[in-house]
Symmetry: C2
Subunit: 342 residues, 2 copies
DNA sequence: CTGAAAGCGCTTACAG
DNA sequence: CTGAAAGCGCTTACAG
């Protein structure tokens, strides 16, 4: 049995399809009795309007394409969930693409988004190759970046000040009396989460006249596994730091585990500070001190801004939105000064 | 500037739209020179075919609607990522809905899926109310359940044998010499992950003639937080168990943390076994012994089976797929027997 | 091998 | 307040 179409409803109700369309769209100027007849026909037939036919004529799909680096990451899964919530709240639906560093897949998805005529696109990574940049630029679909700010982009980003956040995180360790401060960094091809966080770390050290051996600085891929491995490299050196700043909570947890497996204790032997403020911070012991991004707000603002871009159409203000970061102290950092006094 | 349409391409190439459509769809029976002219016109114009117009006539959207209880859960985020991977591999795209126990949202999404004319639906929870059941039954869209088997459903499920898995997990603790075995359960309105796992636990105890105080048995909502709270209730009793079986890794981690915060150690004072085999098991210390679901396989098989349903159309075999569970021993359970001998 | 025409299921001027 | 008709951007018989 074919699904009923608007024509069937019209016949059943004894009106024109135009009228059915009108009550479907809640227009006024339909007499009550007709409205009722139409409604009854709809119910009797179990009619459900085709969103796709509708999209074709309205030139609006209410679809948002989302590109996430990795949904299993504690940070991205959380931001995705609030993006979904906000979108759904505004009657938009999400087409999600999980690219696992797979550039071909990303390109393909971007093309799919184009063909699907999504109303907007949210991108949450910054490792854009030339082919992708080119496509992005000719796409004529509103695009917004969330949590990252790729270089050379005309698109709006919703981010924190990663440089300042990394600076503040490092300063926190310094204020606790640490001078041998290791760094578990991200991918230096990433401006936002790679370079900026590294620069913040370096600057904080420099401002305090602290020098750090090369071996204290390692770069990974933000994941737990790489945090573990890079920490391991650090621990197997002759000398190792008294504190480590990891640029993601996942990496920090990897470091936590590595330290534990090496028979050392956090924060007694080694302090660890993470970045993101994801739910993982509370799921591990010791609970992880972390530089928190306002994840929920970030997701919400991203969607809100994107919807503005979609609705406005015109020369939308491309100004970035910078949200506030915030240090959340938990149990993974030791105060060297107070222990001296004690 | 309006996006070019097939008509523009046809004009540019000096052929009919039919011919353009043919080369677009890779049909043979198009002379090479025409094919080349069309291709050039497409490139010059930057033409991207409208998937939505296409869907309208083909009556196929290549869309799969997915209903996830909570993408931030370690289990669901992982299964979602493999579902996405498999779908994308087969040129299907995902419309994801994150229902957070929000029945209204779920119903609304189901209706959206219907209006979107998705080709298939994947549902990963079993708390179906009457309204939703009714809609599901008249939907005439292939539906498949993943990781759960709701009661009274004619739809196919891809699951493990939760009863057996819970039985085996409990038996593992018994074999290690435990007799005071607590239970951190799920929602008893859930057949699969609530009732079945509880039944498996009870049966294992019964088979070994073990009796357990009522206070050793608590029910939560699968999340870390509730694992923590329920464990706390157990620990503040006069007597508490020597081992606990939690029906999700997230809950088990909550238990781990609670035990830690109470100054007790795992597994020395208390053993903990989880369920799911999610990545969390390796992210915590001690690493969590867990009854593993084949998450990746489960996601893949779910999509594969759904695609079969979509392609077959006919009276598709509704037989459930039962995947193998597997105990993965890590560091969170103590062998009471060997410690006696030691 | 190629094209004119009908049709997918809606909405939206336009007329009345 | 209501309806006939055109059109959204494609694909698919049908003819040739």
């Amino acid at each position: 049995m074919m699904a009923p179409k608007i024509k069937d409803v019209a016949k059943q109700a004894g009106v024109s399809v135009t009228t059915v369309s009108r009550v479907l769209n809640g227009e006024k100027y339909v007499k009550d009795d007709l409205k009722i007849r139409v409604q009854r026909a709809i119910d009797e037939l179990g009619y459900s309007p085709s969103h796709i036919a509708r999209s074709l004529v309205r030139k609006k799909t209410n679809l948002i394409g989302v590109i996430v680096p990795d949904v299993t990451s504690s940070f991205y899964s959380t931001i995705l969930s609030t993006i979904e919530k906000t979108a759904s709240h505004n009657d938009y639906n999400l087409l999600v693409c999980n690219i696992i560093e797979d550039t071909d897949k990303e390109l393909k998805y971007l093309q799919v988004f184009q063909q699907m005529r999504v109303d907007g696109i949210i991108i949450m990574h910054e490792k854009l190759n030339d082919e992708i940049r080119e496509l992005l630029n000719k796409l004529s679909i509103p695009i917004i970046f969330s949590s990252v700010k790729p270089v050379d982009q005309k698109f709006m980003s919703v981010i924190i000040d990663d440089y300042a956040a990394a600076y503040d995180a490092t300063r926190h360790l310094i204020e606790l009396g640490h001078t041998r401060i290791g760094f578990l960094g991200g991918d230096m091809r990433d401006i936002t989460s790679g370079q900026n966080r590294y620069a913040g770390y370096c600057r904080a050290l420099a401002d305090c006249g602290i020098d750090v051996p090369e071996g204290y600085i390692r770069f990974g891929d933000y994941k737990t596994q790489s945090g573990y491995e890079k920490m391991k490299e650090m621990l197997t050196q002759e000398s190792y730091p008294t504190a480590v700043f990891a640029v993601s909570d996942d990496m920090a947890v990897g470091a936590l585990n590595c330290i534990h497996d090496h028979g050392l204790r956090v924060p007694e032997h080694l302090s660890v500070i993470g970045f993101d403020g994801s739910q993982l911070t509370e799921q591990v012991r010791p609970r992880l001190t972390s530089m928190q991004q306002p994840i929920l707000e970030m997701g919400k603002v991203t969607v809100d801004k994107l919807l503005e871009l979609i609705e406005d159409q015109k020369d939308s203000p491309t100004e970035d939105v910078i949200l506030q970061h915030k240090l959340v102290v938990r149990d993974s950092c030791k105060n060297l000064k107070s222990s001296v006094e004690a």
